[in-house]
């Protein structure tokens, strides 16, 4: 009985400083207005993007050829039936924007996860083991850095064909370098800290040191970097989509809406303006959140 009690007590002892650290971090983040505003905005975007079919269930592909080029509701000729107007085929712009948000957010967040996973692993090994492995990984990183990112992704997508899965994979795998380099830098300095030397001295296996002792310490730079990169990936995804190499039709995407709307730039301003605004609001909120997180958690990353 008392043994159990002891375990609980010691668990609490272990947990307490970590909880305190988390609380402090949260307080630090909450003190930055940009993090709060950005966080609230992106939360809103996520909630709307996930839940809109509950209150606005319209078919994004349904064409109403009688109602082609209906302007948004606040303009002459607009109607509440199509709050943000219709496109050249009479499809509802609002619902297409909402579906487009799902593509952008899914690709953005998943590609960053892929990139983080690859970058963290390579960065950890590179920094921890050093030597030949380190040189090899860093030289490969140099090659990736030297490759024009946009060209790499479009040429690979052109060969593999575009699907959500390929996009996530290609965007993610071409973006691992920044993470790997940042992680490697942190690991190099962490490696010399007493707590790592101490655990090595008592014979802790390398993988335990790497994943249990070092990894938690590089969490904040990865969070900050990841947040800021989501914004970049979403812009790239919409760019690919704009060129006709994004998620294939009929799924509406912001980039393709822009590309299609561009043809009607003289008569239907909303077709080119609204998808871009949607991208901008999303990116702006992610950037605000990322800036706030960076200032709170890792000011060293200021120039990344």
């Amino acid at each position: 009985m008392s043994a159990i009690h002891d375990t609980q007590a010691s668990l609490l002892e272990i947990a307490a400083p970590r909880l305190r650290f988390m609380a402090e971090t949260l307080r630090e983040v909450a003190r930055r207005p940009s993090a709060l505003i950005g966080g609230a905005m992106i939360a809103m975007v996520l909630i709307v993007s996930l839940s809109f079919p509950l209150f606005y269930s319209v078919d994004p592909l349904e064409q109403d050829l009688m109602a082609r080029f209906t302007p948004p509701v606040w303009q002459d000729g607009g109607s509440w039936h199509y709050p943000l107007g219709t496109d050249n085929l009479g499809r509802d712009v609002l619902v297409r924007l909402l579906y487009g948000s799902r593509v952008s957010l899914l690709v953005g967040f998943s590609a960053v996860l892929v990139a983080e996973l690859a970058g963290i692993l390579l960065g950890l090994f590179s920094g921890y083991y050093g030597g030949k492995l380190d040189s090899l990984i860093m030289r490969v990183a140099d090659i990736f850095m030297a490759y024009p990112f946009m060209l790499l992704t479009i040429s690979v997508i052109a060969v593999l064909g575009s699907s959500i899965f390929n996009l996530i994979l290609v965007l993610g795998l071409s973006d691992w370098v920044t993470y790997a380099r940042t992680i490697r830098g942190s690991v190099l300095s962490l490696k010399k800290k007493e707590f790592v030397e101490a655990s090595r001295a008592i014979g802790t296996p390398h993988r335990v040191i790497i994943f249990r002792h070092i990894l938690p310490n590089v969490f904040s730079p990865m969070l900050v970097l990841g947040t800021l990169r989501v914004a970049n990936i979403i812009i790239w995804e919409s760019g690919l989509s704009f060129l006709g190499m994004g998620v294939p039709p009929p799924m509406p995407t912001w980039g393709r809406m822009l590309a299609e709307g561009r043809l009607y730039i003289t008569d239907a301003w909303w077709l080119v303006t609204l998808p871009g605004l949607a991208i901008m609001v999303t990116i702006l909120s992610i950037n605000l959140l990322g800036d706030g997180l960076r200032d709170a958690l890792d000011p060293r990353l200021r120039n990344v």
Partner: protein, 311 residues
């Protein structure tokens, strides 16, 4: 000078390594899908046509032999004929390259000319309305996809106001919108970077010394502080030049700018893979060369750097 020369050789060796890696990626990416010949031909191509093209492009040889031939030819600027235009790919690229370089250089110039003064003023008057306003502006600049900005500018300045031509290349008026659209996010990035670097430099001891000597504030800022703040700016500008070249892919499509970006996009849709391969490789080589030059410049600007310690 000995150490610098050694560093130069080390960097050269790295560059060669990177170039070999880039040539490998450029060579292998068309093999990702399995049979590259199937990619290049329309779906209804006859077995005869497939076999002819395969023989013609040497795809029947072992892979390493193909790569060695590719690399050997590439080193001499020889990439074979474009399948679509039936002329040497390199000639097509060289013909279009000046347009892209012009666009990228104009974007870089606009970005630096606008952003650096904004960054300096923001740093010097930290917390003022000017600072907050320009940093908010920079945040918007970073959050705008450049091709959308391009379209918005076309809508406003060409369609509504009729001030500027929508597309093409030749006159200065045609260069304004594409370079501004391409340079916007860079401008935002430079403004933020200049501000944060200046803030850092302005808090250093030697600046305090300069001020306490009674030097004029403008001398302190523009002669003493800015000189050191330039170092990271030059590095980032050099690195970003490559991204600018990549970014031209979309903006050239928006403005019908006759550069390599548009060439490569059309080549992809035409399944003209030798041309895609050549373009990607040429642009990467330019990127690597620019980075190498930036490194050399960096060495010149900051003699304190320790060249042999890995960061």
């Amino acid at each position: 000078m000995g150490i610098m020369l050694q560093y130069l050789f080390k960097r050269l060796w790295h560059t060669v390594f990177v170039l070999i890696g880039i040539s490998m990626i450029s060579f292998f990416f068309i093999h990702l899908s399995g049979d590259p010949v199937m990619l290049m031909l329309p779906g209804d191509a006859s077995t005869q046509e497939i076999e002819t093209l395969r023989e013609q492009l040497g795809f029947n040889d072992p892979l390493y032999a193909q790569y060695l031939r590719f690399a050997g030819n590439a080193a001499q600027g020889e990439f074979g004929n474009s399948l679509y235009y039936k002329v040497p790919a390199m000639a097509l690229i060289l013909e279009r390259l000046p347009a892209s370089l012009e666009l990228a250089a104009a974007a870089m110039l606009i970005a630096l000319v606008v952003a650096v003064p904004i960054g300096i003023v923001s740093a010097v008057r930290r917390g003022s309305m000017v600072d907050m306003g320009s940093m908010l502006g920079a945040l918007f600049g970073l959050s705008m996809p450049h091709f959308w900005l391009g379209i918005m500018m076309i809508m406003l300045f060409s369609v509504k106001l009729g001030w500027l031509p929508t597309s093409g290349r030749g006159s200065l008026a045609q260069l304004v919108m594409p370079s501004l659209a391409l340079g916007m996010s860079l401008m935002a990035m430079f403004a933020r970077l200049t501000r944060s670097v200046m803030l850092e430099v302005l808090s250093l001891d030697y600046i305090r010394t300069a001020r306490s000597k009674g030097l004029k504030e403008s001398v302190v800022i523009y002669k003493h502080a800015l000189k050191n703040a330039m170092i990271p700016l030059v590095t980032v500008a050099g690195m970003q030049f490559g991204f600018l070249l990549g970014g031209t892919v979309i903006i050239e499509t928006v403005f019908a700018w006759p550069g390599v970006g548009r060439l490569v996009v059309q080549a992809i849709f035409n399944r003209d893979y030798p041309l895609v391969q050549a373009t990607v490789l040429v642009l990467s080589v330019i990127f690597v060369a620019v980075n190498f030059l930036v490194d050399m410049l960096y060495m010149y600007l900051d003699p304190q750097i320790s060249y042999f310690e890995d960061k």
